[in-house]
């Protein structure tokens, strides 16, 4: 069941007209142009005890991602592949809009969009995660933790997820004669095998304008948003129109093109943080 949100902040008409009149001049309240994201900071290894982690700041939005690994059973239809789960928590310390409780539709959508981008591109090499094919595989838990919400949780979470996965080291393990696997989490020596890097660009439609990386005010006044995932070759590897409202055919295609340029900025930040430029 999905309901029209009835507890959203009401943005004064004045605010909206300020945003629009700035956009008409090619400007934004955050003093950047329409196609440039806010300042991005990516830091990996921020949770030493996790197998992988990263914190991303995108303007005032702050997202922490931790990766934990475990040994479990594979899915029946992919017996020789590891399992990856993505979960997002919009914890209440991040925003007056968030309340404690199980993930709501926004948290679930966020996690699923990121999950699909990784899964469909085989970004993490799932075959390399089989320990005993058919019975024991690595289970990779990606937990997205939003710490400060100032809009565009998609791009910040995707970037933090990708950085955390690239930062992940699998623990050493011992295989007992019984087939049981005993982990030694104090030793983590095997990097998670990454096949592909994937990032998203969230583009908001405000009036007739398309703007990259909307902040919370912009998201609130936006007509709608489209989130596009790209790989480094510029392929489109996932899309989600998110939010009420509609776009024309031309706007969709234009957004895809704008995003393809903007994602390069994110990829640069990712490379700088992970030192794994390829």
């Amino acid at each position: 069941m999905s309901l029209t949100p009835f507890k959203v902040p009401i943005v004064p008409e004045l605010r909206k007209s300020t945003i629009l009149s700035l956009l008409a001049k090619g400007l934004r309240t955050s003093e950047r142009d329409l196609v440039t994201p806010r300042i991005v900071k990516v830091k990996t290894g921020v949770i030493e005890r996790a197998e992988g982690s990263a914190q991303v700041e995108l303007g005032n939005t702050k997202v922490l991602v931790g990766v934990k690994t475990d040994v479990g059973a594979p899915f029946r239809d992919t017996p020789d592949e590891g399992v990856i789960t993505v979960n997002a928590e919009l914890v209440p310390l991040a925003s007056p809009l968030f309340e404690p409780g199980p993930p709501d539709e926004n948290a679930i959508e966020l996690a699923r969009v990121i999950d699909r981008s990784i899964r469909e591109t085989n970004a993490v090499d799932r075959k390399s995660l089989a320990i005993i094919p058919g019975s024991k595989v690595w289970v990779i838990h990606v937990d997205i933790y939003v710490l400060d919400h100032d809009g565009n949780l998609f791009d910040a979470s995707m970037l933090a997820t990708m950085a955390a996965l690239m930062n992940t080291m699998l623990p050493d393990y011992e295989e007992l004669e019984t087939g049981e696997i005993i982990l030694d989490r104090s030793k983590k020596t095997t990097p998670l095998k990454i096949n592909k890097k994937v990032l998203t660009v969230n583009i908001a439609k405000i009036g007739d304008y398309l703007v990259v990386d909307p902040d919370l005010d912009e998201e609130t006044v936006a007509d709608t948003r489209i989130v596009v995932a790209y790989d480094e070759e510029g392929n489109i590897v996932g899309i989600q129109k998110s939010g009420p409202g509609a776009m024309s055919r031309e706007e969709v295609l234009k957004a895809v093109d704008i995003g393809r340029e903007a994602v390069k900025i994110y990829f640069k930040s990712l490379e700088e943080a992970t030192g794994r430029a390829e």
């Binding site: 009835f6 679930i108 699923r112 489109i236 590897v237 899309i239 939010g243 009420p244 055919r249 393809r260």
Partner: protein
């Protein structure tokens, strides 16, 4: 849902596993007024995919604190019957159903004239009776019909269809077998009369060119689907098999 191994999904003549051409829809059936209690209802079939839609409202919201002062509250539930899938589906809402309820609600937020009905709720209940691919897009089509059948004023009718990519080729209206082995699945909902895309997702990998071509395949099919909706609203029942 497992990927079929070694099965050719497009033959040497360009025919799909069920004989369709790449840009061909499955047989479509639409019917309205299928339920007594609902204010509007519709049954929509794309091949074996079968969706039942009911609309209630505008009516008082179940909980008064939800009422919005300047518009109607929309509630959408996309739900799969336990017997609709290959293996029984638990009737508790899955994460997938929660996401799809959201994107379908958002596909109608800007279509229904919600400003006409402040402080009320409009409920759209969508039940997947049988799932064979394309359930969310058929659900959008069913919702559009049920809304019209309920007399809810809308800017335009909406319909949906998914375009897939299988064996390197773009195909319209993928079914479950094709979806399971496909490289991409792109569900689109569109209101042709106002030229608005109201739902858009891509699950998989496409080039920029494929995206544009696939989108146009979808929009073209949706134009025909909305024509069928219009006929259905006049004639109560329409089937492309009987045409």
């Amino acid at each position: 849902m497992g990927k079929a191994v070694g099965v050719k999904l497009i033959d040497e003549y360009g025919r799909r596993h069920d004989g369709r051409l790449p840009d061909q829809m499955r047989p479509v059936r639409m019917r309205i007024n299928v339920l007594e209690n609902a204010d509007g209802s519709a049954l929509v079939e794309y091949g074996r995919t079968r969706i039942l839609a009911a609309v209630y409202g505008p009516r008082e919201p179940v909980q008064k604190f939800m009422a919005l002062p300047d518009r109607a509250l929309l509630r959408v539930r996309y739900h799969m019957a336990p017997f609709s899938t290959e293996e029984r589906k638990s009737p508790a809402p899955s994460r997938r159903e929660i996401e799809l309820s959201k994107v379908i609600r958002e596909a109608f937020e800007d279509i229904i004239l919600v400003k006409y009905f402040p402080r009320t709720a409009i409920d759209i209940f969508l039940e997947v009776l049988q799932a064979d691919g394309g359930t969310r897009t058929a659900a959008v089509t069913a919702a559009s019909l049920a809304l019209a059948n309920a007399g809810i004023p809308m800017k335009a009718l909406v319909a949906g269809v998914a375009v897939g990519k299988i064996e390197g080729q773009l195909v319209l209206d993928v079914d479950e077998i094709e979806d399971g082995s496909g490289e991409a699945d792109m569900p689109v909902a569109y209101a042709p009369d106002i030229e608005k895309i109201t739902l858009f997702q891509l699950n998989g990998v496409l080039t920029r060119e494929e995206l544009e071509k696939g989108l146009d395949m979808a929009l073209s099919a949706i134009r025909e689907l909305v024509e069928l909706e219009k006929r259905t609203l006049k004639e109560e029942y329409v089937s492309t098999e009987e045409v």
